[in-house]
């Protein structure tokens, strides 16, 4: 059985827990606590340890989906879960006070996952806040990680189809970069 660990990171309220719920085919494991920080995200609960979901593919592959807590106080969980990950779905909610800064911070923290596999950026809650537009994110990603091709999508974390598109694009990109690297190695 090959395991593929995909992390879901991003600021509080971006939709990591919701996204894993949308994608997982098992009942997800959640660690929600009552949210006492309503100023940052006005919602009832917040993740304090991790979310966990799975997609099993045949009897050979298992995609493990881990959601991280968004609040930096829990960054020890980020470190723990980062180690096994081969891919990152970075969610950023467009209605945050400064979502591009959130993007900066999380790419700074998790950017190296691009080298371990791949990253995809999902901008959520664009129905709540249409601005900034998606190309602002793409531009910023290009600035922060020049020469890397990182897909940027708008997505509603509640929408399974859209989350699948994000996940599949991530995997397609991971496989394609691996294939190109292999070809280049062979050519050299």
């Amino acid at each position: 059985m090959t395991e593929h660990v995909i992390l879901f990171a991003g600021p509080m309220g971006a939709g990591k827990t919701t996204a894993i719920e949308s994608l997982s085919e098992i009942e997800t494991i959640r660690t929600e606590a009552i949210n006492t920080d309503r100023e940052t995200a006005d919602k009832d609960t917040t993740t304090v340890a991790l979310d966990y979901g799975e997609i099993t593919v045949g009897d050979e592959d298992k995609v493990r989906l881990y959601g991280l807590p968004g609040q930096r106080r829990f960054d020890f969980m980020w470190t723990i879960l980062n180690e096994r990950a081969v891919g990152l779905v970075l969610l950023v909610n467009n209605d945050a006070a400064d979502p591009i800064k959130d993007l900066d911070e999380f790419l700074e923290e998790f950017g190296e996952l691009h080298e371990k596999g791949g990253i995809v950026v999902c901008v959520t809650r664009t129905d709540v806040a249409p601005i900034p537009r998606i190309d602002k994110y793409a531009e910023r990603v290009r600035e922060l990680m020049p020469g890397r091709m990182i897909p940027v999508f708008t997505a509603d974390a509640r929408n399974s189809d859209q989350m699948r598109t994000c996940l599949m694009s991530l995997i397609a990109n991971i496989e394609m970069t691996a294939m190109i690297a292999a070809s280049e190695e062979r050519a050299a």
Partner: protein
């Protein structure tokens, strides 16, 4: 989606029941005062107590016995994660609500448990001189005291 129903405790201290957005425990001077009082009593009860923190379920420090602010914050976050993981395991195994969590290490152990009827957790670090049994019963006493103090002073 909404897991509130599955959470063991959903009530904050009673006195804010009328306000729509209750003050969170770690910002509520009354709750903080109660926590400080209870924790200082804890130190008197048990000499092997190294460190203790009362925290909100979502990992904010309400009060601590030690002065290292950074460390207290760290303990609060980790204890919150631990508690939630414990709850997740108990839920998955269908063994009821988590009563306490113990981490036993070579030179000491950590006990954590919820403050009854509150979305707060007590986390206490003892050195190895103490027996687990005694540490546990003292911790339980402190957690119950905290509950009593909050509700009595509020009334």
């Amino acid at each position: 989606m909404n897991d509130l129903a599955n959470l063991p405790h959903v009530q904050f201290s009673g006195q804010q029941a009328s306000s729509p957005q209750p003050l969170s425990p770690h910002k509520d001077p009354h709750v903080i005062a109660c926590a400080n009082e209870v924790l200082s009593g804890f130190a008197d009860l048990c000499r092997s107590l190294h460190h203790a923190t009362i925290l909100t379920d979502d990992g904010f420090e309400v009060a601590s016995l030690a002065d290292d602010v950074r460390q207290n914050g760290r303990v609060a976050s980790m204890a919150s994660s631990m508690q939630a993981l414990g709850d997740a395991v108990a839920k998955d195994l269908r063994i009821g609500a988590t009563e306490y969590i113990i981490i036993a290490a070579t030179t000491g152990y950590v006990i954590q448990m919820r403050v009854p009827d509150n979305s707060m957790v007590l986390a206490a670090h003892f050195d190895a001189a103490e027996t687990v049994g005694k540490a546990l019963s003292v911790a339980r006493l402190v957690a119950t005291n905290m509950r009593t103090l909050i509700s009595s002073e509020a009334a």
